[in-house]
Amino acid sequence: MSYQVRLEQFEGPLELLLHLIEKEKLDITRLSLSKVADQYLEYVGQESSITLSGLAQFLSIATRLILLKSRALLPLLSFTEEEEESIVDLEHQLREYQRFREQAKKLGERLQAGRGSVVRESFLGTSVVFYPPPQLTALHLRGAFVSVLGEIPVYEKLEEEELSDIITLEEKILHLQNTLSERMETSFRAVTESVESRVEVIVAFLALLELVKQRFVHVKQDEFFGDIHIHRRSA
């Protein structure tokens, strides 16, 4: 590997993508995106520490990059309106993110610059006057406390659980390889039969592409949206 970057440095896919583009000193255009697509996929493929929810975000961008790359390879391929829009969106999103990332740096410097203002403590020197809101009852307090309890974010626990449930591309590749070494032949539908989320299907698909690239398998699809037959290549 010519350029070693651990993905943990990147909080999200846009950050990674922007890093790759800027590293090549490119502007944010379609062409640049298709140029860095391989590197992007490579990093995502290597990285084993992406959480399930994080992976979905990385993969949603990966699919658009694959789209752009396939277009570069097959000029005749035309995009559907939806695909076209998703590419325009990505360029726009990257530009917006780039602007805010620049601004965030400046903001950080200003917050460190030691030019802050201070306000005065309210009603300094005013003595305490007992002034209860006339209509307030104990039941109002109870109601307010119940609504506070309802706002406590339970999701934080959930995300922690997700952390332990990482599916990586690497695992999927291994899983596919194992399946294939047991049976010489399988199909994409069979591989994804037991998966529970769309993300896993996408991971499985990327894993399959990787195996094709490594010349471990070849694939055949008889019709659009038909099942994909996977054959192990004889060594």
Binding site: F123, L124, V128, V129, T137, L141, R142, F145, L149
Partner: protein
Amino acid sequence: MPTPSILSQIEAILFVSGEPLSLARLSKILELPRKEVETALTGLKEHLSNDSDSGLFLIQNADSVELATKGEHAHLIEALTKSTLQENLSRAALEVLSIIAYRAPVTRSHIESIRGVNCSFTLRNLLLRGLVERSGNPEDAREYVYAPSFLFLERLGVGSVKALPDFESLSQDERLHLVTEETEKNT
């Protein structure tokens, strides 16, 4: 931007301080000889009283100075205090008050981690209205703990927080554990 004058520096310091400051302390903070501070104070005093657009003036007493509002604004200050007191409790204030009631005695950081929002303004308002009281935290000298005031509980018709509706279950609600753990992790 013009260089800040000593007058403006003194005004800023007195504004924040809130209590009378001695000339010695001012001269130390400004890193200026006492004589110069005295001259600047005279300047600031004149500047403020001559400026009809300024609502503030300097009170000098023996060796100390303090910034205050001009006497002719007393009725406005009274109107402000009254309107602050009579204002209905905001939703935020009611929530903070309920946390203090059901979790007393409770620190500010604990209140904030339960609500997930900073609440320094709200707390000051509740203190000013005499609805809550604060005292030193026996477990940590750097922090205060807050509790509903005796007068307020009396007004609610309860002798102690334990008599609040569903006190037993609500004050120990298990969702509170989620944030308590979080607070401990962060400190």
